[in-house]
Amino acid sequence: MTKTPSAWIGRILFWLAIVLIAVYLLFPFYWAINSSLKTESQLQMTPGTYVPRSPGTGDVAPTLQNYGAVFRNDRFLTGLKNSAIVAVSTTAISLMVGAFAAFALGKLRFRGKQPSLYLILSMTMFPQVAVLTGLYAVIRTLSIPAIPSMILSYMLFTLPFTTWVMTSFFEGLPNELMQSAQVDGATPFQTFYMILLPLTLPALVTTGLLAFINAWNEYLFALTFTTIEPDARTVPVAIALFTGEVSFQEPFGEIMAAAIVVTIPLLFLVLIFQQKIVAGLTAGAVKG
């Protein structure tokens, strides 16, 4: 196990890159944590401090009052539940329906493939502001309650996304796979769920994750659809409706605390998810 000096330099550079990436991605998040532990007067202090310090003495003085306020806020807690329901459903449907479509678009031959792809993509090319009014009219006409209407309308951006991404993944798989399955007598559909899906599963998990977070973070549609159904509000809306004691006052510390509270469980989920599922399946897929 001798290592040449260049290999050592390579390793050092590699770890340096990792540290740089981590700092770049995490520092603003750290700043949010820092802000969430400050009182209003600590936030307003000049110069601001890298850890919460008392304005008078300069001692380290973090406060948990912002977190207390967040957890006392019922709307925030129901918001977590609603967001989970909406984001999970949206992701599940988009992945399932999108995978079917992507299989057709990526591996089957049929007339109208290009137009279909562009048609699906074009659905998501308008700014949300523009479609909001029309969408609201549709939802009111069909009298759909807030939660299903959010699930349905989020498809507008998640479904084209999952379809396109999965199409490209399926296309990337060698055709020999399908051929050999067919030699074994599998129908195209069997090939799809017995071979293609498992092979692309890690990629599907990533796609699902990206779609999930997109849906989790959506604000404008949710704000409008839940106006008169406050119990259906999602997390971003709940946070946006955080207020201070009096009008105009923006409870910045609480908003940051809420951001931390919604982000950390999400990260834990991802950590567990990716270790348990992605790692295992990647290993399997590569060998298969």
Partner: protein, 480 residues
């Protein structure tokens, strides 16, 4: 190998499907309460004026002689939705008022729905409901600048008994809320721009009173800023205010212009007056504050940005709404008992002006129970309710007599000294320019903002603004 993968995959799909099914199931209960509301098909709704409210040009008063009789039929269960501010204490007070109303009217359920505090978001939410002509909101809390633009969506409260109480409220607000003879909203609470000043610093630098003119303010701010910086506070500024390109700048700039005798952008009788010497002079003067007595970033400040600097003890003067008073006196504030408020300064030879702010209650034309909703709105804006809000939440009443009320004055002492500011507040030209006030205001604050950031001088900006307003409104131009 393949089997295991297949199983895992199937398992995953099943989990997803189950989750989805569970959500579907979960969605049902959320659905239920909506169905219970008398929104769509609930049979309880049997009032006469239900049909096609939106197509009726005449208010429902046609069918029901205005106001007098008991609004709701006996035993009829009604739900009313009030869309109101969501701020902690404000919301609690509104809910308490709703409770009191429900006690007095057992057949009515009042739901208070909180809406975003950020004004543009709130307007967006309201507009979506109006666009859909939704009967789901009954009473709306509306900004003082909205009656004109939104008039077509609200009933005339005069037809529901507001005519008798309108006289108790400040004339300026009632006038502002009256569109083509219809009272669109009943005033709920008011607001006006104030000058906050540091009493300790004024004393330290030998000033015995807050500035009466903008030029005095300039000089005092410069002196204090220089002194404080020399003593080592490099973050200190003389004067902070709202200079971002938004409605708040319209308020601030209107105060400058009006206090210098430059009119109110568009006069109440529909003449575009903004392009005049007095307005140009004062806006150019204000542009000179940026990066001298005010931070260079002030052209991005809203209310909260100004307060952040002020409350950290880094400003000698601040222009803001009354809300900043109680926060400045909060426990951990750096300036507790070191400041006071006064009317804003005036231009040379002008008189002080404070922009009128505040909120009204309006009743949607699409409501299924306009009668009852109007009754609720009038109840919430009544003298008794305003008194409770004034005492418990320092909301400035819109009813003149409350400013002499001893209990109110005991709870909020500065009401007394600022009575004149509130009575003489200058309304933005929102009613005369309706339904184009928002565009008018956007053109105005963009013009002022371009002067503040040094893109052009006020003369050029207001010459252009005048042309834009002529095109937009089709009004004549003239002197203020």
């Amino acid at each position: 190998m393949l089997n295991r993968k297949k199983l895992t995959l199937l398992g995953l799909l099943v989990i997803l499907a189950l989750l989805f099914a569970a959500c579907g199931g979960d969605a049902e209960p959320t659905e239920a309460p909506v169905g219970e509301e008398p929104v769509d098909e609930e049979p309880v709704v049997e009032e006469e004026p239900t049909e096609e409210m939106m197509e009726e040009e005449e208010p429902p008063a046609e069918e029901e002689p205005a106001g007098e009789e008991e609004p709701a039929g006996e035993g009829e269960e009604i739900t009313l939705r009030v869309l109101a501010g969501n701020v902690g204490q404000e919301l609690a007070l509104t809910q308490a008022a709703a409770e009191r109303y429900m006690e007095a009217n057992p057949n009515v359920t009042v739901e208070v729905v909180d809406t975003p505090d950020f004004v543009q978001d709130r307007l967006g939410v309201y507009l979506q409901l109006f666009e859909a002509q939704s009967p789901e909101g009954d009473v709306f809390q509306i900004d003082v600048i909205w009656p004109g633009d939104l008039a077509e969506h609200f009933v005339d409260l005069n037809e529901y008994g507001a005519a008798e109480v309108a006289g108790d409220h400040f004339d300026a607000i009632i006038e502002n809320n009256t569109v083509d003879g219809a009272l669109v909203g009943i005033p709920w609470f008011t607001d006006a721009g104030l000058l906050y000043y540091r009493t300790d610093l004024l004393e330290k630098y030998g000033f015995d009173a807050p500035p009466a003119t903008w030029t005095e303010l300039e000089e005092m701010a410069a002196t204090i800023q220089e002194g404080e910086r020399e003593e080592g506070n490099q973050d200190f500024w003389g004067f902070v205010w709202q200079g971002n390109a938004y409605e708040g700048l319209t308020c601030d700039a209107l105060e400058w212009v009006s206090s210098n005798g430059g009119g109110t952008i568009v006069s109440p009788d529909g003449v575009i007056t903004i392009n005049n010497e007095a307005a140009i002079e004062i806006v150019d003067q204000a542009a000179g504050w940026v990066d001298t007595i005010s931070p260079p970033g002030v052209t991005g400040y809203g209310e909260e940005d100004a307060r952040a600097v002020w409350q950290a003890g880094n400003a000698a003067f601040m222009r803001n709404w009354p809300y900043a008073y109680s926060l400045g006196q909060a426990e951990d504030s750096a300036i507790v008992d070191m400041f006071d408020v006064s009317p804003l300064p005036a231009g040379e030879g002008g008189s002080p002006a404070a922009t009128l702010g505040g909120w009204q209650l309006a009743v949607s034309r699409y409501s299924e129970h306009p009668e009852q909703a109007a009754d609720l709105a009038l109840f919430m804006a009544s003298a008794e309710e305003q008194k409770i809000r004034a005492i418990e939440g320092s909301f400035n009443p819109t009813i003149e007599s409350l400013y002499q009320d001893e209990e109110v004055l005991a709870a909020a002492p500065f009401f007394g000294s600022l009575f004149d500011v509130f009575t003489n507040a200058v309304a933005r030209p929102s009613t005369v320019t309706a339904p184009q006030y928002n565009e008018t205001s956007t053109l105005f604050f963009n013009a002022v903002h371009s002067v503040l950031i040094g893109d052009m001088d006020a003369e050029a900006a207001f010459a252009g603004l005048e042309l834009d307003l002529e095109d937009l409104l089709g009004f004549e131009t003239g002197a203020p």
